[in-house]
Amino acid sequence: MTSLFLKLGVIGILATQTLYAVKFNDCYRIEDIKLPAGAPPEVGAIDIASDGTLFIVLRRGDVFRAKPTRDPAAFDWQLFASGFDNGCGLDIVSPTKIRITQMAEMTEAEDSDGDGSADRFTRFAHGWGLSGNYHETNALTRDGKGGYFIAVGTASFSGPTFKHTLGTFSDAGRRGRNYSAVKWKGWVLHSDAHGKITPWASGFRMANGIYQDPRGELWAGDNQGDWKAITPLYHVEKGKFYGHPNSLVWDPAFTKSKDPLAYYRSRLDEYNRDRTPPAVEMPHMEINRSAGEPMEIPIGSHFAGQMILPDNNGERVTRLMLEEIEGVWQGACTHLIDGRGLRSGNHRARFTADGKQLFLGQTVRGWGIPAEGLQRVTFLGPVPFDIDRIRITRDGFKVSFTHPIPDSLKDAQVWKLSSCTYQPKWTYGSEPENHREHAVRIASSDEKSLTLKVDGLASGRVFRIHFPKCDSPDGSPLQNNLAFYTVNRIPITKPD
């Protein structure tokens, strides 16, 4: 089997060097990693140590580790630690020391006597409450200075709170669909290197994954639902409010009302002024139903520097093409992989140090069909024929591709652009509004790209960019022919 993969890899590499068609299977290999026998493979979080050891936290409480092997069924899993409540954030400090965000606190587990399993469990950071609701899981990312950003999930109205809560209880915070009955639910917190926490940003419903990129920009997704029109990706900045009102009961600077849910429900215009919109909005049916952990594609793979966003509720991983326009982040989304043997439940992502492999941790529990486990995506080398980038111009979009494009794409008639707006509110998701079709002209084109002049380009809208499936002149089939660009800002450039 291994040798077959090797041969395929060699053929794939040859394919980039010749004019043979490059198909999906030449570019990506998706494997199921066999997990420890007998353990329900509900993967809460994953991380890779500096020596390449992969650690996984299972939601019932065990932490396993193994050195990845070429054979996906041959990982030699060892139990490193146990006793965590729904650990959904994991940082490997060293091969013998890990930190986990569990429900009530962030815990450091260390193997202090070198026998292979943790024997010291030290509270690292705490200070958020726990109401007794099942939905209140937490995720983490390193801050680059020895500390962390921690995304604290809200509770769901499908579950109760306990009579006695960890931390102060708020009646107003408890109201509504997804709620913030105790402190910092729906917030991103900062923890310094000593575990001291500071509230950082509010308005999240369930940021199931948070990520600081190599340049220090902080990103978090969220889940379509109440006050989340479709699936958003946020560029997270200190002090900003990202739209889910309940978290504001814990914000001393929010003095407009003691009941932010009721206040904004009847004041959507003011709500829109007060909130920071997503950098990217992802239509939940077409692109991503529930955002997992964002992760930048590292050097070593095609699309390096772009970002992936696992779909916790679809057999797919989203690819995000972000750009900063006059200080405001925005960009396009399409699929990195849609189907092709990928499971659903994708929510944690780690690339190997060489950038050529991506591990995806998966879990769906509590409702629905279990979609869980660990999968490995190997970037085999050849580059698929795909959308490479979509950039905004002052009057349209520049769409570039990874391979030469056929002449058929250079006909403006084949480009179908439409746009709409989304108003997050108390409903579970929001329907698109203010739909518009946009006439398109091809302003210019070259071997691999086109510049589209779009009639009626406007900010505050999500543009659907659709064109026919086609092959590159080398015969490579196009992987994606649908993308969405969220226009927060149109670049101001001098007229030509």
Binding site: G61, S158, G159, F162, K163, R365, W367
Partner: protein, 347 residues
Amino acid sequence: MRKLPILLCLALPLFADEPRLTFDNRPMGSIAKPLVLRSYLPDPGLEDSVFSQHDHARKVSKYNPGLGSDVPGEIQPVPGLAAAIGVNFGPSLSYVFDTTECRLLYTWQGGFVDMTPYWGDPDKGSRVSFDYVPRLVGTLFWQASGPDPIELDGKSIQQLGPRVFTGYRLENDTPIFEFATGSTRFTLSITPSNKPLSCDLTLTSSSAAALSWRGIDSPPATGKLTVTLVGSDLSKFQGYQRDNKITTASAAAGETLFNQYGCAACHSIDGSKSHGPSVGKLAGHPVEIEGLDQPVLADRAYLLESIKAPNAKIVKGYPPNYMPPFGLPEAEYDSLILYIQSLDKPE
């Protein structure tokens, strides 16, 4: 990790020296390898005074997510422990230590916990939660009451100020909890005793004051105290008992099942959107199905098929492969259908 003798290892499955959490809803440790489980844990009826470092949740108005506002009715908070740690030594001892109160809350013997409500019924895939608090298994023999029983010079440490949990360490795999009040540090370990309905407590303090455990006579001790906590048969628990005992189908039984099986997490009953289509005003109405030109009538046969084989007809706009098939007794199917049909009638 404790190493078992080689001969014993050979006789056991490969992972026997790594007692991992499995699909077994009644996980157990042993005296040699106690199991530490962090999860929401049951409150067997602890008195309010024990929760001095918690807040009290209050009832909340029922919320209608379709209207986006409150409706008549109330939701009451339920008993449970949010941030406690359960430890089991096999049948000889189980206990719950709470990281918020920094104290031992209760002890029992003869079993540990039944995780079925949270981990899910194995017959239904072991994943579908219907509530989130495990049930106790065994004989409860002691539970906390009043102020913290740890005393320095005869005074409860509760009077010294807030108790702060700092972590625990495993010594020979047995947890030793660590906490502090002010600059005084404490450790507490709880281990099985040879006496019936009892356990041994080992307490240390960094203070030079006399250390005692309220209610247990012991010689004066400084720095370290070992005592036996002798309890009595307070109550017995059998874990999670599922017996819906539905012999005659009814809409009322259907409503109970609808919540018990977690249907409510995805299907609203008021027409509002959620993960799955609403069951409100569904029965007797046409439904748009993926891949079909004509709508399908949501009659009894449709509803039954949608519970038994959810993928057979996917409602337009909703994902396939999302709802698990439910294999239920006939009276439960009938009850669920009667309940869904009852949601079609004006209130």
